[in-house]
Symmetry: C3
Subunit: 471 residues, 3 copies
Amino acid sequence: MVKNTNIRISLPAVCFVWQIAMIILFGVFIRYNEESDSHWIETRKKNNISTDLENDFYYRYPSFQDVHVMIFVGFGFLMTFLKRYSFGSVGFNFPIAAFGIQWALLMQGWFHSFDKEDLKIKIGVENLINADFCVAGCLIAYGACLGKVSPVQLMVLTLFGVTLYAVEEYIILDLLHVRDAGGSMVIHTFGAYYGLTISWVLYRPFLSQSNHLQRSVYHSDVFAMIGTLFLWMFWPSFNSAIADHGDGQHRAAINTYLSLAASVLTTFALSSLSKKYGKLDMVHIQNATLAGGVAMGTASEFMITPYGSLIVGFCSGIVSTVGYVFLTPLMEKTLKIQDTCGVHNLHAMPGVIGGIVGAVTAACASESVYGHEGLINMFGFEGKVNRTASVQGGYQAAGIFVAIAFGLVGGALVGGILKLPIWGDPTDSNCFDDDIYWEVPEEEDENIPAFGHQNMHRVERTPDAHHRSHV
Amino acid sequence: MVKNTNIRISLPAVCFVWQIAMIILFGVFIRYNEESDSHWIETRKKNNISTDLENDFYYRYPSFQDVHVMIFVGFGFLMTFLKRYSFGSVGFNFPIAAFGIQWALLMQGWFHSFDKEDLKIKIGVENLINADFCVAGCLIAYGACLGKVSPVQLMVLTLFGVTLYAVEEYIILDLLHVRDAGGSMVIHTFGAYYGLTISWVLYRPFLSQSNHLQRSVYHSDVFAMIGTLFLWMFWPSFNSAIADHGDGQHRAAINTYLSLAASVLTTFALSSLSKKYGKLDMVHIQNATLAGGVAMGTASEFMITPYGSLIVGFCSGIVSTVGYVFLTPLMEKTLKIQDTCGVHNLHAMPGVIGGIVGAVTAACASESVYGHEGLINMFGFEGKVNRTASVQGGYQAAGIFVAIAFGLVGGALVGGILKLPIWGDPTDSNCFDDDIYWEVPEEEDENIPAFGHQNMHRVERTPDAHHRSHV
Amino acid sequence: MVKNTNIRISLPAVCFVWQIAMIILFGVFIRYNEESDSHWIETRKKNNISTDLENDFYYRYPSFQDVHVMIFVGFGFLMTFLKRYSFGSVGFNFPIAAFGIQWALLMQGWFHSFDKEDLKIKIGVENLINADFCVAGCLIAYGACLGKVSPVQLMVLTLFGVTLYAVEEYIILDLLHVRDAGGSMVIHTFGAYYGLTISWVLYRPFLSQSNHLQRSVYHSDVFAMIGTLFLWMFWPSFNSAIADHGDGQHRAAINTYLSLAASVLTTFALSSLSKKYGKLDMVHIQNATLAGGVAMGTASEFMITPYGSLIVGFCSGIVSTVGYVFLTPLMEKTLKIQDTCGVHNLHAMPGVIGGIVGAVTAACASESVYGHEGLINMFGFEGKVNRTASVQGGYQAAGIFVAIAFGLVGGALVGGILKLPIWGDPTDSNCFDDDIYWEVPEEEDENIPAFGHQNMHRVERTPDAHHRSHV
């Protein structure tokens, strides 16, 4: 089958129109908040605040930059493991995130920071972090579809993904009054099921025709380790970025640091166990080592204790690696879900674990552990919300189901939209190939005359039959 | 023509002599400032300052480290896109910056932080940031000359570049009293025209002989994305690093974040538009996506509003990509300017846009927007400088011309010096080849006997005729 | 000789058992400290501390993240220079560090943060930094053994390395009351001699059989530069991370920044001098440029003056490069020490220089330079320790010998343990080959039928004779 992958009209159109829409909507709705507005100097003086250091910027900016690195370099490079899809991995990650953060500032702003007096959204550094978080959900979904969709489809996936995220987040955090500082449910569980459902709707029966490209080469695996390590190292910042000032952020960083360390050890153990001669598999190392961060997303700011964090990392590393070994092939075969990056193992299962851990930890919270004021601050048991810890645990558990439901239903709807034959996606035999959407440079040795057969190779590698018919 | 590229005497001599000169000059002139000097503990007590947190270190160090990453990894890796000049890109970037920051501490110190009482320059974290900024100008200039100059020439380029920068900066910031926190004019415009003029003076008529090396390979393009992304992610820190404490830094980060996001979208749009089948070009993605950061350099701390920032990014992404598509080839053909990295598109044009945006925004500043005190603080309208906002706008515009003038005249002079036949630069046919200045490892497959023709290839690839004649 | 490199039982066993031991020990001993415990809110109120900003988290977390990057990306990628050991470099670095930080929290906790009242170790961000520091010692040791040991051996090396480190650190910092903020002695000198002695005990007489793999390829050298640069850029954070709040951290960052800059220049000078035609050697650039950071480890927080820092960097860059040119081959030939990464040149010699510089600087300390209170704070001359500066200098010098002694004796013991034939280490002809412990992807061009001789090549490259005999 010959498909049209020409995106010369659709991609520029989407980028231009949406960016112009962002400008207009920002013009109507978005302003600086009081900590980033120059007027604040005078307000501050009136309130006798004596120092610029109290600006939230200094509490959160270092964490924000770490999160920013995770979104753009972490997710981007983690996906470069495929031999001929490094441009697409790190390259499409870029506009998804760049568009997504703008749209997230609006969507999250309407739900969370909307000032009903002057009908404006006031933004500061915490909004930037939340926008990055929101985009993480879409990038996880991209991981499930990696190599099988066009950049136009990815923009659509992001538009709806951010929208769904903002609603789901509003329900979980505001209506159910659930805590989820690092987003085990809100980000990871939702993002993974959203992407997996889309991948299921877009099932490609003849994807094995692209098998020779759905694998890594030596250097692409090393590139992917850049992504893995920046995600791994900065995850304590991710889970603590919007936690409470002071001991809240401090504790969230410690818990995540420990959980991640434990999941590295169990990942290496199971990876070695799963192979002949105990050889390690880069896929496991690149991914399952991160499960401890995902699973610590909800409980990171809770008093889960240091050894509790290690236990969470221990289990999630095991579950994630076992997922890569057994579940991914099974899911493709029986459920027709083609999950390129294995987001079910890295985000869905550890995300659900994180939600459960959070619910249990919350249910066990007590004044003797948190202190009287600490307990109130942590779960926001003030004024309107009057709950016991165990009731809070129940609400936390309910959050998991909301996240899964939004992922499944949203993914089905968006998958349906993306199935329309207008988005320029590749044929089954052209998946995982940068040559479809990128000007790929000639091979390293191409220019050497003595290397004649290399040219043959090029001819074979990039059949541009798919270019020949244009709508 | 056979040229001598032996730098075994000149490079060590320059490195040694200049480093010793730095030590002597530092010994005579440079001391810790009161926030990094141990004595400060007592001064502080006298002044009743109650906390170490007020040390400027905690306001600026996280931003400083981000800027540091941009200088060494950002610029270094951005230039690794060439197939056989990755060592030179990331490797020469290193000593340029390492020497440049030392010389900048002195030059900028004499102009800005010179204590006339004890004839010393007192340094702290803000000086380190400014030194990194100054070096950025020289690294931009290197981008225009990449692959065509020797490391000794680069050291000379840096020596004069830093000197010119310090004078230009003094005129623009101190004499004209212009604001330029992220250096659209002072860094980018100056650096780009400085490098372009040098490249024009050093025009190589037969550079096409190196054509086979002036291109990328698959993995070198991925390496370059490391540079792109670290520049992109940390640009909010760059533009906010030396902005005013509190809302100034906060706002500068937000504005830059938004502007960069918008330029990603327009870059993807135009890159796709410019090619057959809408395929994306890595050169555009690696570079033009950053234009939003350059163009937001001057106005980042102003009350330009979030949608204003998006508009700036929108336009600069377009201008920069169009520059790569049309201007670079035109400039080489008609103006004889060979601009390896396209710094005209990434730094010169967006830098000038940034200067204009800054001038217009300043001219429109009002107390109703900034607050009474905010306006005074922002533009330093205190005591000696008594200007209206519109007059300030005029001065801001004048700053652009000073930066361009310094770039052109300085570049012509330094270009003349670099044209002397004593610097060990390569012949036209040996450009863009690491083999001239580096011990390059054998090819990956060299050691395999069966691969006989590879050896032929090596013989062809690295003709070391240029070594044969020594002065 | 055929050796069994099957680690399918030993590696999982070690990972599981040790991780479970960590969980149990953490359960018994480790709790949050008062700045990361939720209870702290009430304690704080009682003490009238008005702001969360005084939480140590905000003083140290940005530096902690930089150190974290150095440990995982810095050390990991620095070692990727070998053509076929990138997986092992960045991959084994990962579990060493992930296990090591847990064990270090316990070991260092028992010695430094043990609360005798409730028999608990209370941890906060400073403990996380110290755990990262401790692991750095083991990663340096790994550098000496790179490519010649199995992952199980590395875990054993780490278990004992962390233990030795904690004891040595206790003797030097607590008993001798020596200052060593950046660990020239405690981390670098100890780590290097520990690794070198192990390498000496494990001497491989026929290692030349792996010669064809003990070299770099073009892209592996570029990957290694990622490690170099992140180490270089973040070293100011490393040396200032646990320095005193305020001017102490500020000064440590400035001194390290300057020292590193100087060592770049002298490294380039000597690298060029050491080769024909003045060509630069990537090994020198990747390593010796960092010597300035190592050598500034002890004195970074002292009032060594900016030009003093430049002199330290100047000398250590020279010593380190000369080490790579002359000493490493000599040591292998005469002393039978095979030092894969040249840690003797990068860590041992600059570490000893750092210790000496620290001793001399301490001996010269005076109230006129530090201020009365500054001097007391810097060297802890309060209450129990009543020393003059020159006596302190003597103790500082003694610290060097303690570090060396622990390295040599500890290395000999651990080397003896690692010599047992049960750890699954490779034969001399299988060193430096990822294929022993990793599932290595097929070559890039493997899948191209026309490329028949590539297959021959594969067969030759990975003789899996070593798999054939299993215990």
